[in-house]
Amino acid sequence: MNVEDIISSGLLELYVAGLASEAEKQQVNTWRKQYPEVEIELQAIEIALEKYAFAHAVAPAASVKEKLIEKINFQPVDTTTPVFDINENKRKKTSTVFWKWGFAASVILFLGSLLLNLKFYNHSKKAEADLKSTKQKLESVVAQTKVLKEDIAVIQNKYTMAVSLSAQPTMPGATAKIYWITNTGEVMVDASNLPDAPAGKQYQFWAIVDGKPVSGGLLITNNKGMKIRMQKMKSFGSADAFAISLENEGGNPTPTKVVSMGAVSKI
């Protein structure tokens, strides 16, 4: 069917007037897209009927327009649903989402804090232990320092006279130092250089006063594995020399085996 035939068929008039069947409507819809002439013809028919309707126009009362303007919602919302409901739904949705995320966030925070707590707890445990061991170390250092201070005080004392005892052929390497505080007569022995006494034997300290050995007490060289540095002996007002001998445990009234000896230098 060519365009002229379509236009003269009378179908377009029926179509616009609303008398076409469904099949005919489909046909015309296809044609109007296909042929611009058909579209123009349809428009012309529509305009003719439109003018016909305008020719029969009847003006409605002015109140109709006023009522209409009141009823019409000029807001740019293309729905009959009240605006309030839309907002309500949106808010509910947002708030549900908020609580969901809020819950998730709080769980994460809780787990995070749990981990941190555990970490901090371990840290504090370790710190506590460290502190304890440090305290112990410090205490022992303080104690050592106190001993050393006392030792140094002895050495620094202006009345102190140092006497070096030299090893005798009976025991090579058996040296010791004597600190004799001349104004008080106190005698300190640094026996740290003496070899450990053999089992069943003990060192004994002697002062040679007027050519005769006088016992100054027994020496301890080993106290549970620790070397004793300075040991306080009996006091002597005067002495020519000092000596250390190796005796059977418990000591002896007279020295039997002198291992180290030194004379007091006379000023």
Binding site: G10, V16, A17, Q43, H56, V58, P60, A61, K71, Q75
Partner: protein
């Protein structure tokens, strides 16, 4: 066509779709008369017609986004809304039996006695319409305004189906000649 053309049809539709208040006012001022005329002819009751007209404009406003210009002119679309809403009102309300029958009779009788022509003499253009044969006008009115099917027109007028078709085409061709 009453007032000065301010918008093209495309512009008007676009403005209505963006819910422009002035465009609605323009639409009402320009088309309410023609649409009301159709409703009045179908109802023969001015008060009822005005109620329906209001509903028609509300429906136009709320459904303007569904108007498709490729399927016909704006007035054709609005006219169908007016027609269908009027027929629906008849069907849903108590008017049903009484008014529909009255309308049917009016369509046939008005054109036979020829009195209705005088109604439109005040509108210049209507004089030209008098040149249309009453049976041509009847067939246009029943189909275009009344939404009657070919079979219904055939039944109402007693014309064979084929005659309804040829008379329809002849009537519209005559109308075009008169109005353009």
């Amino acid at each position: 066509m009453s007032s000065i053309q301010k918008y093209t049809e495309d512009e008007l539709v676009r403005l209505l779709q963006s819910r422009n208040r002035e465009a609605f006012s323009y639409l009402y001022n320009n088309y309410s008369g023609a649409l009301h005329g159709i409703i009045v002819r179908l109802t023969d009751n001015n008060v009822l017609a005005e109620d329906i007209l209001q509903e028609v404009f509300l429906k136009i406003w709320n459904n303007i986004s569904s108007y498709d210009a490729t399927k016909g002119r704006l007035f054709t679309w609005m006219m169908k809304i007016a027609r269908n809403l009027t027929i629906d009102t008849f069907r849903s309300k108590g008017y049903k039996k009484q008014q529909k029958i009255v309308t049917d009779e009016n369509f046939v009788s008005n054109y036979n006695d020829g009195t209705s022509n005088e109604k439109f003499d005040s509108i210049g253009i209507s004089k030209n319409l008098a040149v249309l044969k009453p049976e041509q006008r009847l067939i246009i009115d029943m189909a275009y305004f009344g939404g009657y099917t070919q079979e219904e027109i055939s039944k109402q007028t007693g014309l064979p189906l084929g005659t309804v078709k040829t008379r329809m085409r002849a009537a519209i061709l005559q109308l075009r000649k008169l109005l353009t």
